[in-house]
Each structure stands twice: as C-alpha cells, then as structure tokens.
C-alpha cells in the first residue's frame, strides 16, 4: 500500500500543473471568445482561487512521494509531535 501511495504521489504532482494549464487555456479562450468585464472577472476569480489550490495539490503529491503518508497518526500522543517537528 505504501508503494501505491508513493506512485500515486507522482500522479498528483503531474496533475497539479496540468490543471493549472487547462484552467489558463480555457480562461484565455473564453475571454477571447466573449471579451467583456463579466467574463474577465469570472475567469479571474477562478484562476485566483484554484491556482493556490493546485499548488497545494502539488505539495500533497510531493509529500506522498516522500513517504509522509506511509504512516498516519493513530493516537493522540502522535498528534503532540506537531510541537517538535517544524517544517
């Protein structure tokens, strides 16, 4: 299972930039098709919101690739470890 978690991490890392590319491409073609403030605001909002989420998705994939999800906390004692393991 841990191997699958890592391999899938690669998929998430690739999917992140692909989704950004698709978003930007669709936004530019829609803005060119229907130029106007409404279209620009609408797609501007989408890009502004989903861009950082896609970055988070890439980070999630990297963590998975590094094996950070091989073991998840199963007891409260492990939750306390947050204090001593800075990023």
């Amino acid at each position: 299972m841990n191997a699958l978690k890592k391999y899938m991490g690669l998929v998430w890392v690739i999917l992140g930039p692909l989704s950004i590319h698709y978003l930007l491409q669709t936004a530019s073609s829609e803005i060119l098709k229907k130029p106007g403030i409404d279209t620009q605001i609408q797609w501007g909002v989408f890009i502004g919101v989903f861009y950082p989420i896609a970055i988070g998705f890439i980070l999630f994939g990297l963590y998975a690739l590094e094996g950070n999800y091989d073991h998840l906390p199963e007891a409260s004692e492990e939750l306390d470890d947050y204090d001593v393991k800075p990023l």
Binding site: M1, L4, K5, M8, W12, L15, E30, D38, I41, Q42, V45, F46, V49, F50, I53, G56, F57, L59, F60, Y63, A64, N68, Y69, L72, P73, E74, A75, S76, L79, D80, D81, Y82, D83, K85, P86, L87
Partner: protein, 512 residues
C-alpha cells in the same frame, strides 16, 4: 464514567450550538435562493444576464471568502476560546443579513446599492467561515469518544435544514402578501423579498441569548488552565509539516469531494430542475423541500454508523455512488418532464397574442403565450416575446422564450425520489465528516486546522459547483448534463485519494 454522566448536558450543548449554526446557514442561503430577485433590485437592469451573473459572482464571493473566515476566526477560537468566537460570528452573520434587508435598491441610491450588498455578502462569508468549525469543535469536545459521530451529526443536519427553512420561508412569504397569488408574487419581488432577511434578526437575538449562557469547551478550558494553548495557531497548523500534511489530506481526500456532492445534490439539483427541466418556481423548490425532509434523518444514521465501523468507507462509498450515478439520475430528472415523452391534448391548446405599440415608434412588442396540456396532467406555458417591426422584412433575430412547466403529481413524486437519492449521498459524505475532521487535529489548533480544509472543500469546490456547472452548459450548449462533469471529476479524484491515503481507525483518546 458511565454513559449517563458522560452525556449529561450534551443535549443542551448540541441544541445551543445547532440552533446558532442553523440560523447562520439560513442567513447564508436566503441570499442564494433569491439571486434573481436580488439581481433585479441591486444590479443595473440593462442586461439581465449581467445582472444575474453579478449576483452569482457575489454569491460565489460569499463562498470564496469562507476560507479566510476560517483562518481569522479559527485562529481566534484557538487563542481566546470557542464560545466567544462563535458568538462573534453569529453577531456578524445576523447583523449583515438584517442589513441586506434594509438596503435601498439601485434605483434609489445607484451603485452604492450593489457595493453595499457585496460588502455585506463578504461579511456573511467570513462569519460562516468561522462558525462551523467552532460549533463542530465545541460539540465534539463535549462528546464521549465512542459517540462523537452521533453527537456531531446534529451539527451536520443544520446546513441542510438551513436550506430547508430558507426555501420554506421564501415560499410562505411569496404567497402570503396578498389574497391574489399573482399580486402576492409581484409584491414579493418588489419589497417582500426583504422579509426573510429582516426576520433573521429575531432568530439571531434568541440564539445569542442562548449561546451567552453556554460554558467554554471543557477541553479548551483544561488546556488554558494548564497554559498549553497555542500561541500561534496559524504557524502550528500550517507551518509544521506533520500538521500541514493532514490539512492537505483532509482537503483532497475528504472535504473536496464532500463539497461537490453536497452542492450537486441540493443547489445544482434545484437549479437543474428549474432552469434545465423548466419546472415552475414553487414546484422546483417544494421537490427539494420534501427530499430534504425525508433524507435529513440519514445524517444521524450514517454518522452513528461511523462510530461503529469508522468514518472513511461511509464517505468513500457516498462519493463512489454519487460519481457513478449522477449522469443517470440527472438524465432521469430531465426525461421525466421532457415534452418529447408526453402526449399532447391538441384540442386543449391555448394561444394568446398581445401586441403593444412602442412609444414614439411604429414598432410593437409582440407577446405570444402558448399553453399546452398533456395527457398525464402536465401543462406547459411558453411565452415568446419579440419585436414586430413596421419595416417590411425586418424581424427580431433572437426572440426571448420563457418556458414554465407545471408537472403532474406522479412526475412530481418521481422527482422527489431522485432528489432524495441525491441527498442520501450528501448524508453519507457529510454526516461523519465533522467527527472525522475533529479527530485529525489536536485540541490546541483544532479550530484553525479543521476550519480551513472544510471551507475550501465545502465553500470553494462545493460552493462554486452551480456556477461552474452552469458555465459549462454555456460552453457546451448541446449537452444538457455537461455541468455534471465538474462534480464527477472532483468527486472521483477525492474518492481515490481518500481510499488510498485516509485511515479508518478512530482514535478513542483524541479529546485531549
């Protein structure tokens, strides 16, 4: 400790928390439910589509600021306590809802009107971002470990019940302003829409009174007494890899899929029934109301079940069923009332044409109202409006066509059944999620840590579902159910991540 002592007072805690959260959801949804009416009141009428889009954008803005509310109030909740933080969110939400009901419309104060509406809507979004995490955390921290899912499920019912009450209040108000139904609707569209906003203040005052009497969460109080509260919840939540990885997992493996299933099953279903199936205003809303009423108990059922078998697989199965059956269920909704599947009673067809001369011109506005009846009891009113030009050969390029169907009793209950299934999926993914999120994070940064993934998942991914789905139908105009592409893709990715990465183990001692 026996069960009686463990659960002593928990119902008071659940009642007080749920009531406030219910009111917050009600406040938040009346705006969305009245999007078209608000567009007419506050946005320039020159372009109705632009007006509606502006409102939807405002609606979306309400959702997009929710994650910021989660950060601001989550931090506050971990620093000063749960009780006062979600008291503050309630005041902000109630105050801004009441204020929206008081704003003069665009004709009276010009562009100040939409600007004020936008600001108040943003405050609503911020307040909601702080409310849910607080209420869920507060109830969970009072609950015995083995029934955390069951007790937090009452908080989970509030979002759907808030929608239920908002739709009910709107329908009642719409029909009680005049003995004549048409006049009542006209009055509602003119000024009566303000009533659902204004009555919110009464509900909020009652809820504030109840919440003021509540005590701080026992776990938070214990941490505070021991001097172990977080000094920088944001840094501890998102600056430490061990916690950040759980925030990302909560978002991409649970709340993202939960959000799209929630909004597809309720908001998009209503929008689809009204705008794609063309079912008239009242029926399109009462279909949702009945389905909510029948499905709501299942929030408690699935959350209780999660106490016994774990949270993970209930949520995953809910997402799986949703993504596999959305196309079939929505096609079924469309086909149920599609005139191609009906037999027309030709002799009953009524056509009425009115022509009104346009002032200072020789052209006229021509309105053709066609009423068609079908053997199963359904009727359809189609209103076609165009300009009849006096210049020979000149015609309106694209007449405005509005269609409204009054469906038969059997079709009506069939639709209720389909929407019930859609909401059943919602109860599977949403019922256990509060307990699931609470158990992922430690007490001292729980409010901050669980609020952000919840509101990105529910607010951004979910809240934008009707907007993105409608947008897709304008890009791919020939496909009536193309809007489902968005929830199906997001739901599938989330389901795969959840199935692979999430633990099904419930930690019995997470309350520390």
């Amino acid at each position: 400790m026996d069960n009686n002592n463990e659960t002593k007072g928990i119902w008071k805690v659940i009642g007080a928390s749920s009531l406030g959260t219910l009111i917050e959801w009600y406040d938040f949804y009346i705006f969305g439910s009245l999007a078209v009416v608000i567009a007419n009141q506050f946005f320039p009428k020159t372009n109705p589509t632009a007006a509606l889009l502006s409102t939807l954008a405002t609606f979306a803005a309400g959702f997009i600021v929710r994650p910021f509310g989660a950060l601001v109030f989550g931090r506050l909740g971990d620093l000063v306590g749960r009780k006062y933080t979600f008291l503050l969110t309630l005041v902000l939400m109630g105050g801004s809802t009441f204020a929206i009901g008081c704003i003069p419309n665009y004709e009276h104060i010009g562009f100040l009107a939409p600007i004020l509406v936008l600001i108040l809507r943003l405050i609503q979004g911020l307040a909601l971002g702080g409310e849910y995490g607080g209420a869920a955390t507060y109830v969970a921290e009072h609950s015995p470990a083995h029934r955390r899912g069951y007790f937090t499920s009452w908080i989970q019912t509030t979002a759907t019940l808030g929608l239920f009450i908002s739709l009910g209040v709107i329908l009642l108000t719409r029909h009680m302003l005049d003995a004549d139904a048409a006049k009542s609707i006209a009055k509602f569209n003119d000024w009566g829409w303000r009533i659902p906003f204004l009555i919110s203040i009464i509900l909020v005052v009652v809820s504030i009174y109840i919440r003021l009497k509540m005590k701080e969460s026992p776990l938070y109080t214990k941490l505070k007494t021991e001097g172990k509260t977080s000094v920088n919840p944001l840094k501890e939540s998102f600056g430490h890899k061990a916690n950040l990885k759980m925030v990302l997992l909560a978002l991409f493996g649970a709340t993202m899929g939960q959000g799209v299933v929630w909004y597809t099953g309720q908001f998009y279903a209503q929008s689809f029934i009204e705008n794609v199936c063309k079912v008239e205003f009242d029926q399109s809303r009462t279909v949702i109301i009945w389905a909510i009423l029948f499905a709501t108990p299942f929030f408690v059922v699935f959350a209780s079940l999660s106490d016994k078998i774990g949270r993970k697989w209930i949520m995953i199965v809910g997402m799986l069923l949703a993504v596999l059956s959305y196309n079939y269920l929505f096609t079924n909704l469309y086909d149920t009332v599609d005139v191609k599947n009906k037999t027309e009673i030709v002799e009953k067809k009524e056509v009425k044409t009115t022509v009104t001369l346009i002032a200072a011109t020789t052209d006229s506005i021509r309105k053709v109202v066609t009423k068609t009846f079908y053997t199963d009891g359904m009727s359809q009113v189609q209103t076609k409006t165009d300009t009849a030009y006096s210049t020979p050969g000149k015609t309106t390029k694209k007449p405005i066509v509005a269609t409204s169907k009054t469906i038969s009793s059997s079709d009506y209950w069939k639709m209720v059944g389909v929407v019930f299934i859609l909401i059943l999926y919602v109860t599977m993914v949403y019922g256990p999620i509060a307990a699931f999120l609470v158990e992922l994070f430690p007490t001292k940064i729980r409010y901050t840590s669980m609020s952000l993934p919840y509101h990105i998942g529910n607010g951004v991914f979910g809240g934008l579902t009707p907007f993105i789905a409608t947008l897709l139908t304008t890009i791919y105009v020939d496909n009536k159910i193309v809007g489902l592409m968005y929830p199906i893709i997001i739901g599938t990715i989330c389901m795969i991540i959840g199935a692979i990465y999430i633990n099904n183990k419930i930690d019995p001692e997470v309350n520390r």
